[in-house]
Subunit: 508 residues, 2 copies
């Protein structure tokens, strides 16, 4: 029977839908509303109201501070009022040529803090690498008594990094915004007359993880006069750096600790970071990176951080903490934050939006995507440096000021693509061969969705299955009974992560 | 030794960084660029250029089409040029009172399509539920020969839904934009003089999954005159609907199939959908839902879809398909799509942005978040309908036109929060008790991150461990060797999903 021939039955037989309540007790507000002649109330958007209010506040603040910039003619941070202070500065007298063809002219600088004392032999230094958005302030200091991002993991007799034994150095990564040279810094070669126009913004060179650790290495050797680190320790992006340091300078460190890191970025992680970048870049206030004398892209930053937070924590933790409870179960659902979990994400995003520079976030996020210790990738980076040698370039202390646009013409060598997964595996194993004699501690967390456990297993498998490997490798994998905190576990778990690092560092 | 006392060693000893290439062969473009006096080239943003071009195109298109609306005085879709056609319309003569206190005045409508023939006994009907963004066009028809979203799963002698045996009905969900009443529809009670101002936009009532299936049920009973469905089949959001249909109308269907669905939304899934909504709502063109006579929020939609795509597919699939290969390994990395995976996401987002209504997306995304078959949640919804009965409301065919603002004053009963995970489990088990005599097929996919496998296990455990359960339950879980396609597996895998559904439907 064709459906169009079915006759519509009188719907009154259909009890359930034909009940109609008497509309006899309207409040005043509702009666007023009734005049608008719509069937359902306009939804409210308190979250958008709030964002608009923040934009207004920033505009007012900005207007005041722009005056200040003009007056003082110096680089101040217009908005990041809570920027970390109390760090020291290392300033380079030579330019840095990035793997991807850009150049960072000198003077560029690294912000650093230290804890403990460097021994006479200069053999007890630990270089601590941070995650993407952290400052050098890993622990409180006299200069800055605010708690650091790894406060419970560092200190005298601390089970993780014992400052009675070790001299701990932490830097703000190159490209960051807490004192080290990054996109919001002044380009010393820029001859613009206005201070604000001299900032790099999106004329900052794209950095590789290797560029970042080479800059650190330069500081370690040249400034701290340390020939060999006792250990390189890092988590997340810091876990990438820690491995890269070992691969790049295998004879200049004893031990390597890499927590929740990887040896090459995985497309799922790239996809999540891609989403964050695109969301931030879609904020009209981002303005292709040129917002330093305008309103910062706080909406885009907030949204990017909310997406990031989803990748930092884990479902099982949220299940027990938030479930699917709403803020107010009696209120009509709305599109603005309504569930406890939404409120949590909203809060995380809002906090971060005014604390970190959007361009630093974009650049470093991409730097993470580009991380790959495969031999083909490393070779590719080396080409540029080889050509510098071939050109017989020698520079004195003075002549090392970079010439205009140098390196712009350099094209990276085309990388030979691995045609199979197995080929890619071998390429990566070859890239890790410099670690052949090193002691390694690799830690992964089962609930980590951003750097999933199999990426740490990959490091361990590739290093330990290499026939030339003569070091000791320890692999720890925290299961759900040990941690529900996903990728963020390294910030929280002194017992399963901190103590294990301490043990590994102590052992011979 | 205090660090500040370390003397900066002459960097010339530090060979690696002091090499300087001679800058002797500049191209013309580069020489021009050199005049700008910056150290590194300005990054390019082709992705933003493209979005701006699309905005411009839409504006031009919009200007032409707005004229058309004014002239024809009818509801046309200004942008969704490829909107599905060839569906039939069921129109309700009674209002729909939503669980959350809103009301959809009649006439509201459901777009549907059918395949196969309804037998004389009206006992061979299968109601097929869609995912969030699909239309009623599950399979090609005479009226619309374009392939449907489940083209390979339906047809004469098809191993999944055999149209020689079954009469398959698929609807566009209420709240959608492919023919069913949704936010872009005209509110019949709105007395505004301008057609465009009559559209619901964000005055559309928030719907529950139960509201959606009650609307379908009304159509099935009243229009198709079917007292009992042979089966309710659905995946993703459709998997929620399929279960809800069984819980709400246990005596009016034989079998239930729920693929990659769940019995209540999990905070991780809420978090991912929250991110998509906030990103879309931050697009200035969204304009709090009032964009129907303006430029649609295509940038926000694109971004939301990119985030969604990350949740639809799986890491292992992407690893083998995209790895970390870039579009062009020789080019300097940029913040616009650069890796293969980024290009894929960009393309997925762009396509969807012009195909689906932003408000429909927002509302239905929230509807999914609010889904919970726990008894406490169901009771809460029932209150309103009970009060309608208590008010002794009776309506004839004509008087059922809803009165202005009816239901706005109704506040849902406060739901008793489960204080422990175990209490929440029992609450959900009680909610599923109406399924006690039903045959169920529940399918999950190990690589699904959005509706993870343990959510399907939860359904199976709760139903089968109930002492009153007398039906047959079948649980299939596809592991990585069977499917790498994550949540999207249900759209692709005829072998492991389609055939299993067919078998389940055939068995007595």
């Amino acid at each position: 029977m064709p459906i169009s021939n079915i006759i519509l039955r009188n719907p009154t037989h259909y009890k359930y839908y034909t009940k109609l309540s008497v509309f006899n007790s309207l409040s005043k507000a509702s009666r007023l509303f009734a005049k608008r002649n719509v069937s359902t109330k306009q939804m409210e958007f308190p979250c958008l109201d709030k964002l608009e209010a923040i934009t207004k506040q920033l505009k007012e603040k900005q207007q005041k501070q722009t005056l200040k910039i003009d007056k003082l003619q110096q680089c101040i941070d217009p908005v990041y009022s809570n920027i970390k202070t109390g760090y020291q500065i290392y300033e380079s007298k030579v330019p840095l040529y990035s793997d991807f063809g850009g150049v960072l002219p000198n003077p560029w600088q690294i912000a650093y803090e230290t804890w403990g004392t460097l021994n006479k032999e200069r053999s007890n230094a630990i270089l601590l690498h941070t995650g993407l958005s952290a400052s050098s302030h890993a622990h409180s200091t006299k200069q800055n008594p605010v708690s650091g991002w790894w406060e419970n993991f560092i200190g005298p007799n601390n089970p993780c990094l014992d400052t009675n034994k070790y001299f701990v150095i932490c830097t703000n990564v190159l490209g960051g915004c807490y004192g080290s040279t990054g996109p919001k810094s002044i380009d010393p070669t820029n001859t613009s007359s206005k201070d604000i126009n001299k900032r790099y913004a999106t004329r900052f060179p794209m950095l590789s993880i290797q560029d970042i650790i080479r800059a650190q290495h330069q500081m370690i050797k040249e400034f701290f006069l340390i020939d060999k680190l006792y250990a390189s320790v890092g988590s997340s992006m810091g876990g990438m750096q820690s491995l890269a340091y070992g691969v790049e300078f295998p004879n200049e460190l004893e031990k390597i600790v890499s927590v929740s890191g990887c040896a090459r970025s995985h497309p799922s992680s790239i996809a999540m970071r891609h989403a964050q970048r695109q969301v931030l870049m879609a904020d009209p206030h981002w303005n292709r990176g040129y917002y330093y004398n305008e309103i910062i892209p706080h909406v885009g930053m907030k949204l990017a951080r909310e997406i990031a937070t989803v990748t930092y924590r884990s479902g099982p933790e949220w299940e027990s903490r938030f479930g699917n409870e709403r803020l107010d179960d009696e209120r009509q659902p709305m599109l603005c934050p309504d569930f406890l979990i939404e409120n949590y994400l909203d809060h995380q995003g809002e906090k971060f939006a005014l604390e970190y520079d959007a361009n630093s976030f974009l650049y470093l996020s991409k730097t993470m995507d580009l991380f790959d210790l495969s031999l083909s990738f490393q070779k590719r980076g080396l080409r540029k440096r080889t050509s510098l040698v071939q050109n017989n370039g020698i520079c004195s202390n003075e002549s090392c000021v970079v010439e205009q646009n140098q390196g712009l013409e350099e094209k990276p060598v085309k990388r030979k693509r691995s045609s199979t997964v197995e080929e890619a595996r071998i390429d990566l194993q070859k890239g890790l061969q410099p670690l052949a004699s090193k002691d390694l501690l690799v830690i992964g967390v089962k609930t980590d969705g951003l750097f999933p456990y199999w990426q740490q297993r990959e490091i361990v498998d590739l290093v330990s299955s290499d026939t030339n490997y003569s070091g000791k490798i320890k692999h720890i994998e925290l299961d759900e009974s040990q941690s529900l905190y996903g990728h963020d576990t390294f910030l929280l778990d002194l017992e399963n992560i901190g103590k294990e690092i301490g043990k590994f560092l102590t052992k011979n």
